[in-house]
Symmetry: C2
Subunit: 414 residues, 2 copies
């Protein structure tokens, strides 16, 4: 189960400050792993509002169903978050739904709130029944120990890891109207990471005071250019959950509209933080040794650009070429061609890093194999494609496909 | 470049009889490989009709463009076929189009026909200019040596291989009205094999006398349930070409309509031969050690069933689980969920071989891990999914994703 830390991990983890209104604790509930934490319990002050973006899978986990329903209540308070690793509680039928209800009941008692104010996320193996009685005592103990201390954030990010090789954290400090607010985020995910959704699990906490519909709009928009632009293997999880909790403790003056100019800096900081977290997920792609940015310009529109970028980022042949440090731009042409979006072979231009390898439907006359190969040896590579058709643009992140990916996923369960 | 023969290869190659009206020869043109044949030249008797199904890539190869145009002429005669391996002549711009014209000219002279009666297919590296002058002399020599002999078919299948580890041949003998006709087919392809197209290269030859529109209708229909149901890596080639040539030498009485009952046996034999060739492609998937049949039933319609089957067959997580002999049906649930087609988690049932592992949205109560694991150790595995929604069904073939796939594709060019 234990794999070496990704060579693409940041050299050091950021220190996250406390977020007023948020207290955290982690514990070993023995869900699946031994000798490591596998539960995160977050206590949220009264008045906390929540927003969420979830997997579009037709087979969502029981926890995703629960969160969707709890959020459906709109301005309902969010008072607690329980996250466990090791078991996704997905495709577990009636027992899965009962496990979620039991978890919410135990967490509600520990947090002194209603079960409907508890949010739940689970990650790990699909199809195994989750024994929620293991949370009994554990969550009450967590509630007693929970504190806003900075050390808690690193521990929180670690407790939700599965095949991740490093914890993923990011923070921003930004002005919101008349107050300074903090945004802290954590994420997990290394495989089963794919387009058109939030990634497996990511949670963002802020002390900003903002109504739930605004939080939801900001989060949905932010997910589009961050988590929805990351792919490791094109496989969409049953459990993908991205949530934003706002405690309101910063006490900023009320903001009611998405168009309020006082919101701009906060929205930009949120977007930026989500991109940082999403990139961390790509950096920890299972078996990854290269971080690949795919930038598409000149497409007929942004949607077409995104689909072409994802076709490149999900192509096993492109990803194995990157793993082999091979400037194989023919495979990029193939991936553009199969995307099904408007493309004119004879207008296509392709760059690896700053080296233009192809232009006007053929190899660039000035193409320098040595220069392109030098780009491929870097740990971070940008593949740029210009379609020459219109103004559509997109940028997505992925990693290479290595033998280690096959190894990790050939024996994950056993 | 040389990889061990796939363990899924048939124990022996079939012997193909001559097809009246078809003569073959192979040669070493030195396109890219050393010490092996890399050109197939097929001479077709006057009166031969042709049909073709080609890649849906938006960046097709110059040869695909050429064949589409030549077929566009409808009842035009097909008199020769040139296939080279080692260079796909794709994304080669103006030079690529000139190379195709030059090839057709050289082949036309050798076969004593018009260049527009020559069909061309190229497979290999994308983006490298193809030096068609290498065909000069070679094709004229081939024309002198070409014969209908049975040995020629095995050599033909070998000359068009790239990363293939074994030649792919199939044959059928069937009644067509008042005559017995032969159907011979060859195929190549091991990577860049994906849904919604013909596979890389496959050619079928018959002595049946049938008009071109009928041949086209039969071929297009046959491709749907054969090559369009095979995926190795979800990557669609720029060069996919499936062609059917009918010399008419069997002299059967004229058949003008697709509904003519005399056509039924021929159509069934063609479909069957196409399925055999398509399965051979999956058996030679790059790095493959397992042949996987994915059968989906109970979907809302056939199209939905096909998309769900392809989502399972293309999932890197399902394919690595198969490589690891892990009965990880949770990943099958994931792949059903991400397909975007109607699915009801609580009606889903899943089998590995004859072992039902999941039913009604949860693990089968009678699930036997040992029995499922025994299925996974077999070289040929069927994954069956019933959606419980309607009458839609589909069946597709794929292979496992192994470290060898990464190895093969990490150093294909270098």
């Amino acid at each position: 189960m234990s794999h070496p830390v990704s060579p693409l991990a940041p050299p050091r983890q950021p220190d996250l400050p406390p977020v007023p209104g948020v207290r955290l604790a982690t514990a070993q509930a023995g869900i699946r792993y031994r000798d490591r934490t596998d539960v995160l319990f977050v206590l949220l002050d009264p008045g906390t509002r929540a927003a969420g973006v979830f997997t579009r899978s037709k087979c969502p986990s029981a926890a995703v169903d629960w969160c969707r329903e709890a959020l459906g209540a709109g301005e309902a308070e969010a008072r607690a978050l329980v996250v466990n690793s090791g078991n996704a509680n997905a495709f577990t039928g009636l027992r899965g739904r009962e496990a979620v209800r039991l978890t919410a009941g135990i967490a509600g008692q520990a947090a002194a709130c209603a079960p409907g104010q508890v949010f739940i996320a689970s990650t790990g193996v699909i199809g195994e029944p989750l024994d929620a009685t293991k949370f009994e005592g554990v969550l009450a103990d967590c509630a007693g120990r929970a504190d806003p201390g900075a050390a808690g954030w690193a521990q929180a990010a670690r407790a939700i890891m599965t095949t991740d090789t490093f914890p993923k954290l990011a923070t921003r400090r930004v002005r919101l109207g008349d107050a300074e607010v903090t945004l802290n985020g954590i994420a997990k995910g290394a495989g089963m990471i794919a387009p058109d959704m939030a990634t497996m699990l990511s949670f963002v906490f802020t002390d900003a005071a903002l109504p739930a519909p605004l939080l939801q709009a900001l989060l949905a928009r932010g997910a589009q250019t961050s988590f929805n632009c990351v792919t490791v293997d094109g496989d969409t999880s049953t459990s993908d959950t991205l949530m934003l909790f706002a405690t309101g403790r910063a006490g900023n003056a009320a903001i009611a509209s998405l168009d309020d100019p006082r919101l701009a800096a906060f929205a930009a900081a949120l977007d930026d933080l989500l991109v940082e977290l999403a990139q961390l997920v790509a950096r920890d792609g299972e078996g990854a040794r290269k971080l690949v940015t795919v930038a598409v310009t000149g497409a007929s529109d942004d949607r077409a650009a995104h689909r072409i970028a994802m076709s490149i980022a999900n192509s096993p042949l492109v990803k194995t070429a990157v793993a082999g440090e091979d400037a194989n731009w023919g495979r990029v042409v193939m991936a553009v061609g199969k995307a099904g979006e408007p493309a004119d072979r004879d207008r296509l231009a392709i760059w690896f890093g700053d080296v233009r390898v192809a232009a006007e439907g053929a190899r660039d006359p000035a193409y320098d194999e040595a220069a392109a190969s030098a780009v491929m040896r870097e740990p971070e590579i940008t593949i740029r494609v210009d379609l020459g058709l219109g103004g559509g643009a997109a940028r997505v992140w992925t990693c290479d496909l290595t033998k280690a990916y096959v190894e990790i996923n050939g024996d994950y369960r056993s």
